[in-house]
């Protein structure tokens, strides 16, 4: 459970990180792909090489979604409702014209462990970026928040 103090800390931290959403997001993804190559299988429809446009835009999307959730943590289920459906079903992107075609498939939703691995890599990215400012107390609050975020995001899996 996040205390009032922790919610405030999380909100403030993500406000500060929003301007560098692209950098933080793409770095977290790159770290995850490097350490956990199995996670790349969920992004086979994108170009996820370092510096690619897909990586930057996807990284940015992820961080902005997290930052949005951080603005009012007690409302996570409401804020994440649209994303819940998106992540419960397989996404297909037509690479020629970037159109998102929603394909209903029960084959492979983004795995729960992928969300945990990305959370871990997000924490590492924040540690590199914030240095000593990423105190144990901030780390604890962030870890709790990202766990809650992942749990709500995966609520529609079954």
């Amino acid at each position: 459970m996040l205390s009032k103090k922790e919610k405030k800390l999380i909100k403030e931290m993500w406000e500060r990180l929003t301007p560098v959403a692209e950098d933080i997001g793409s770095e977290a993804l790159l770290r995850m792909f490097a350490s956990y190559p199995g996670t790349k299988t969920y992004f086979s429809h994108l170009d996820i090489s370092p510096g690619s446009a897909h990586l930057s835009s996807h990284g940015k999307k992820i961080v902005l979604a997290i930052a949005e959730g951080a603005k009012d943590i007690s409302q996570l289920t409401v804020t994440l409702a649209p994303l819940q459906t998106l992540h419960a079903y397989q996404l297909r992107i037509d690479p020629t014209n970037f159109k998102v075609l929603l394909q209903v498939s029960f084959v492979a939703p983004l795995s729960l462990s992928l969300l945990q691995l990305l959370s871990h890599c997000m924490l590492v990215t924040l540690a590199c970026y914030l240095g000593s400012e990423f105190t144990p107390v901030a780390h604890a609050a962030m870890d709790k928040f990202l766990s809650a975020f992942a749990a709500v995001l995966s609520e529609k899996y079954r």
């Binding site: 770095e27 924490l123 590492v124 590199c128």
Partner: protein, 147 residues
């Protein structure tokens, strides 16, 4: 047997040779006790762990954190047979200390965060991958003698 490339060996030895064990060890243990408070159960005899400040200033935690890093040093110096190097330690953690081996990964993750905060952008994705591979071998070896 775990295979290490020359580059991986050099990354690990380089990281550890640039560490102050008296600083990083305690930092990692303190972080673990704060981020994963249930790990405090193994340190009941260490005195006051009631809040973050108490944990940060506890001299027993300080000493133990340093001890842990020196323990890791033995793995750095014996990368080709970490399993044998840690056999006794594994027995100790299982039979005497009764530590749930799931907790080794938690401490390993906290150490990764401490190193990341220290090295900043120098802790590249590739270096992170190698460091985590090393810690995974350590964690596995420490759990090997649990029966």
């Amino acid at each position: 047997m775990v295979a290490w490339s020359d580059q991986e060996r050099s990354i690990i030895t380089s990281i550890f040779s640039n560490l102050d064990y008296n600083d990083v060890g305690p930092k990692a243990l303190i972080r673990c006790l704060i981020v994963y408070p249930w790990t405090q159960r193994y340190f009941a005899s260490f005195g006051n762990l009631y809040n973050a400040d108490a944990i940060k200033t506890n001299p027993n935690i300080q000493a133990h954190g340093t001890k842990i890093l020196h323990g890791l040093d033995r793995a750095v110096k014996n990368m080709d047979d970490i399993k044998t190097t840690y056999a006794e330690l594994s027995v100790l953690h299982s039979e005497k200390l009764h530590v749930d081996p799931d907790n080794f990964k938690l401490l390993a993750d906290c150490l990764t965060i401490v190193i990341a905060a220290k090295m900043g952008s120098g802790f590249t994705p590739e270096i992170q991958e190698t460091f985590q591979k090393f810690l995974a071998v350590v964690v596995s070896a420490l759990g090997k003698q649990y029966h």
